[in-house]
Symmetry: C2
Subunit: 447 residues, 2 copies
């Protein structure tokens, strides 16, 4: 008899996991709280496009669906920076042309994964099924549908039900039994989505193949392109300050604020006032926990076990990479679930912590150092190095374009590189240091 | 009309707070989940004595009950260390005779506080009342008694309901609204209580005025004296290891373990096998959160907002000190609750974090460094300095015997002192450094 795998949550991580487990021959049952998004959408005003990069792509490739997904992506080759009162400029993500990230629609990607899952006879996705309880030891779940409350049991339950995970909550309810460590940490900033609509003659009204940033010190707006010519804007903004979300509560105040801080953006967003008041404010939090598994019967992965802030563009990528690493662990250890779950969590947790910390660092770096002379010099040297030396990767590139390294390895090496480069960039004789001197010193660092 | 203060939890912190608020003229209503402990005790095998020191005493003094409480205490002037295979030795807590800590019975102290509270007409304590929900904004609570579900509303609600706080849980349920940060962090060690019964001729079978420690590297047993001649023993012990709690699951294994590791203790605990299997294993966790207040209507304090591990003997003391600092804040700002709650939490949280971190540090220090040569030298120098110089306080003494300094100040100064002393104690010419040289250098450090 084939073992039955229950997956809670048919988001990006859960659906990819379902496909991979089906490819391995398991019977897979996926329970999803929402309706089938292919029959109409909820979720207006929530983050609807994301940056898909090498780690995510490598995980999709494992399931044989990378090429299909790439067709729905728009390459973003760098950041288009729009400072206040100064000309905009472009800053590539890497000195190598082949290193870029991809703007992809979250529902688009999810639908592509669900369509792929439909091709497997051994996957069943149950929509509109709200899991209310998990018996961690018995690998059984209780769920509600319009037909009432029902139960199901598998060999194991894997929770991929996001930052508000019900499976994780069941672990939390056994806090002292599992010695369950947990933290949730919110930034004092939130986010709100706005949009640039497609143009009539030229669909993309601003540079298409870029991630746009309007940095304003303590706050900013970013924009990612969509296939239909629109851009999704995200306003990262403090809750409490004289011009924070909580203070911008009338049309007059919002207007005055946008005119003062985003004057060059205004022509592209004529309807910003309606969007500002219609769209919700989301929070930005980091969730860490341990253990991720209980009794060798229940496991959480993706945002359920490690939710991070979006400032490194790695939330989705790290969740998809979880599936690849989980697969690698099964390949290594077979289907002894207690062994696999334990090995997976102990291999993966440090990497989840690393990308969580990198993402927080980037929030403060973008906020506090984007105009710093030494940081600008460093970025310039990094570009030159990547153009000149194929084996050199900046910290950003290690994290984003080098999935052969774990997040933790990328973080450790990247931080050592940063320290060295910042030292050199702050020297009085900066102008006279030759490029190969940087390379020589950087090559002495190791993972 | 007098304002009504609702307090959830009639433990040490809640009862002292009730007394203080009544002294200030408020109507105070306290809801306590448990039965009145004066009518019989639950709680066998849970931590029943504690170390009361200067910070706790100063808070009790504010309410005028310090002297009465001290009569129920046994002074502990230092640690009696019982290494394995070597003679026991005594190590004073301070070079000053007047600096000692006090063993006190938790229920004894709680009863004394409840008796004191009974003297106030404007305090009502409702026992057997389980608070199930708190409306943070309305300062109202829902509670269950044998008479069914009822509600009450006050000017404010203050939660002093311990590490498992229901009031905190209500804040957690509004995570994104309050941007409620939270962490729970468990050690991989737990604890279990055992006891030494009173002797017939000499009640205290081992040194009465000491906190006894049987250190064994990765684990230990400690003992505190009780008024009746008994000692409460606490076994701090890993869950998972070859000799961890989870492995010691038969009488044979427990016997072999105690005979190997605690041979000199065995004559005093003839009934240890029964206690080992009857008493539960407790967990050791640190809880931090922020904010502590919501809407200027609800506040948490004591273990509800900052639960810590017991290795600095400050859990109860910090909770009682909360009440003193809260009182100080009212004195300063009056009864504008939003102002008072906000000022209190922002003043107190860093101190709560400091003692939490100090307690964790001490766990590792007791475990890993107790036999370290430099640490022993440092302890010796600290004693000599405290004997010689009235104004010198070691880190331990700053935290324990100097409540004029906040925990954070004590931690910062104490850590700088430790660093300096450890440097000097590791020098080759250690033997030739005169005491006044230490003092001179230490005096250059400031809070």
């Amino acid at each position: 008899m084939k073992e039955k795998i229950i997956i809670v949550g048919a988001g990006l991580c859960g659906t990819l996991l379902a496909i991979r487990m089906a490819q391995r021959g398991f019977d897979v049952k996926v329970y999803e709280r929402r309706s089938d998004m292919r029959k109409g959408m909820e979720d207006a005003g929530r983050s609807i496009n994301l940056a898909l990069s090498s780690r995510g792509l490598k995980a999709l490739d494992m399931a044989g669906i990378k090429e299909a997904i790439l067709e729905e992506c728009i390459p973003m080759r760098g950041r288009m920076i729009h400072p206040l009162g100064v000309d905009s400029f472009f800053s590539a993500y890497s000195g190598r042309k082949e290193d870029y990230i991809n703007s992809v629609s979250r529902p688009g990607l999810n639908i592509a994964l669900l369509d792929e899952a439909d091709r497997f006879e051994n996957i069943e996705v149950v929509f509109d099924a709200k899991v209310t309880a998990v018996d961690l030891k018995e690998a059984s779940i209780t769920y509600q549908t319009t037909n009432g409350t029902q139960q199901d049991q598998g060999s194991v339950v894997i929770g991929t039900d996001g930052a508000g995970s019900v499976v994780r909550r069941s672990m939390m309810a056994q806090t002292t039994r599992l010695l369950f460590n947990y933290s949730q940490d919110f930034l004092r900033h939130g986010y709100k989505e706005l949009s640039i609509l497609p143009g009539k003659d030229t669909p993309w009204k601003i540079e298409k193949e870029a991630l746009h940033i309007w940095p304003r010190g303590n706050f900013m707006i970013i924009a990612l392109p969509n296939l239909d010519g629109s851009f999704t804007l995200t306003m990262f903004h403090p809750f409490d300050s004289e011009i924070g979300f909580n203070a911008l509560d009338t049309k007059e105040k919002v207007k005055a604020f946008f005119e003062a801080y985003y004057p060059t953006l205004l022509p592209y967003i004529p309807h910003y006032q309606e969007e500002y008041f219609e769209n919700p404010v989301g929070t930005l939090g980091t969730i860490k926990c341990y253990p991720w598994q209980a009794y060798g019967k229940t496991l959480i992965m993706g945002d359920a076990s490690h939710a991070i802030v979006p400032f490194y563009g790695q939330g989705m990528n790290s969740s998809l990479e979880d599936v690849r690493i989980f697969d690698e662990t099964m390949e290594e250890l077979g289907y002894d679930w207690e062994k696999v779950f334990t090995a997976f969590q102990d291999k993966r947790r440090h990497n989840a912590n690393a990308i969580a910390d990198l993402a927080i660092d980037n929030f403060y770096e973008m906020r506090d150092h984007v105009d710093d002379l030494n940081f600008k010099r460093k970025r310039m040297i990094e570009m030159q190095l990547e153009q000149e030396y194929p084996d050199y990767y900046s910290k950003y590139s290690l994290v984003t374009f080098k999935p052969e390294l774990s997040y933790e390895e990328a973080m450790n090496l990247g931080r050592r590189q940063d320290k060295l480069l910042l030292e050199l960039c702050s020297r009085d004789d900066f102008d006279s240091i030759p490029l190969n001197e940087y390379k020589k010193r950087l090559s002495a660092l190791s993972v």
